[in-house]
Amino acid sequence: MNLVRAEVERLSARRFVQLMVVLLVLAFGVTAATTLAGSHKPTAEELSSARSQAAEARQSMEDTFQQCLARQNGTLPPSDSEQYFPSDCSEIDPTLRDRLPIAADFLPGVFSFAQQARPLLYFLIAFLVLFGFLVGASYIGADLNSGGVVNLLLWRPRRLTVLGAKLGTLLGGVLTLAVVASVFYLATFWVIGQTAGLGGELGGDFWRSLGAVHGRGMVLVLLASALGFAIATLGRHTSAALGAVAAYAVVWELGARLVLEIVDARRPDQLMLSSYIGAWLSGEARFYDSQLCTGTEIGRYCDGFYTMSWAPGLVVLLVLTGGLTAAAFAVFRRRDLI
């Protein structure tokens, strides 16, 4: 317990951590301020007009769908016969759409919390993932490099305990900051929506969906922190983690992706870590593969997309992070500290 308390003090006193927190507050402040400045509370007339436009848009979609069905059934009036309709009417079935037009879509200059909360949360999670990775890497990397770890081991000559305390402190600290920051962040934009914009439809489904993204985002932040920590431990230096990520991004995500496309490999996205991150964070991810439709019977619909759910995303991320973390502990246990 004493060790953890000491580590909490070391972590919170690190200049880099303080700098990243300031950047987080700055990014948050700028986003909130620009949102507030660019939004206004809609008047009753604006709301009424927007609702009418949304209703018209929904009706138009329904009409188009019905016309498509009529063409399929051969009952389409000749006056509408030149209009374009897809061969499969389900493509434009309004009931199959992710979302239908709502009033907020027709309120320019009005911030809608229900509409914007998810992308705003993605932005925050992206920042926190970066924060966790960099802090995790620099926390252990600087300590290994400066002799801080050696100093600590002279006091507590239990390597795994010391490294475990560091990792535990890091994950606890990052999670606490991430939860507090995200709750405060969402609450601020909710208040902006209520007072200077539009709250939108904030029913149970909305909060459940937002909560799921938030929960998955927090897990991703923890995994990124552990990953940065593990790679820097293995490489003895903060830059080892940064270099590994940069090399992976350039060599694999960019270079290998190009090569895989050139050789017409099947489902190349399944080989990319970014695909699993996306699938985990958003619940599922869809990827296009032109070869999926090769050999499909003529007349049978094939859009060339395939779906990756969150479950394989989580498995890949856990195996990668868990494996590297275990390797870091194993190496650190036997390493000569000189």
Binding site: E9, A13, G148, V150, L152, L153, L154, R335, D336, I338
Partner: protein
Amino acid sequence: MSAVIEIEGLRKTFHSLRNGRRIAVDGFDMLVEAGQVHGFLGPNGSGKTTTLRALLGLVRADSGRMSVLGETSPQRLPRVAGRVGAIVESPQFFGNFTGYRTLRLLARAGGVPITRVDEVLETVGLRDRGDERVKGYSLGMKQRLAVASALLKDPQLLILDEPANGLDPAGIREMRDLMRELAAAGVTVLVSSHILGEIQLICDHVTIISRGRRVATGRVDEVLAGHDRHEFLVRVAEPERAVELLHEAELTASVDGAALVVGGVADPTVISRVLGEQGLWVGELTPLRPDLESVFLELTGAGGHPSVPRQVDDSGRPPGAGDAEIDLDVRGVDA
């Protein structure tokens, strides 16, 4: 007396792709008993720091047996870590922490009462500078802070690697006094240093290492006595004639500048009697006792020739050393 540190047959080899295999410590033995102030000497790259790091569990030994305060190291080191204060080379601290905060952090991690922080700051002379950031400290002040961190635990055994690094003459003297006080209080001190005069003043025992092997150990006066050639510096009016007379008396003598060096004499009165009987009156008769520096240079072969720059690997190879290359600049090795 009970053994506080025991090292038997310690061997450590570093491997790296670039530099290959390098033997850092090659069957090294050491015994430090309770209450000793034990000096640990060796040229650069001789294996001192690797030995201390292995003893403290920071470097994994290839073979050998080590114990600290009766517990096997590194396996059972945690049992006695609370009674061992150590600094190994120049420890680094967070620059933006104050000296006080640095020590408080270590005290907290080690479960030491925070009240000890003020006590050790006072002891090492940093009482009035404890609230300043470490990055503003001089090298000597950082060294004092390192010693303070080692003293925090109120240790029974203090291991200090080059504690006088960066200290000014007054600081060196204070460090010497501090070690004497600690020894008087019953603390066993193992101190490595290049300042041989200091070691001779502070330490009662010494171990000398060269190229990874022990070349001398024992009480300082015994080690020095072992290298005493029983030589005397003699000043006399006619040096050449004096040499002839001493040779006739079967003594070895040679002219050294304006004086004579007479060797192989157990009783110096023989010299004054031989010369006095022939009317040559001795103006000065000084015993030439070896000091630690001369013994160190002789044992380690670190003296070299003034016109040839000595290389790190030029230290003397102790008897029995194999043909394997022995080198110990471990900081440059990717272990």
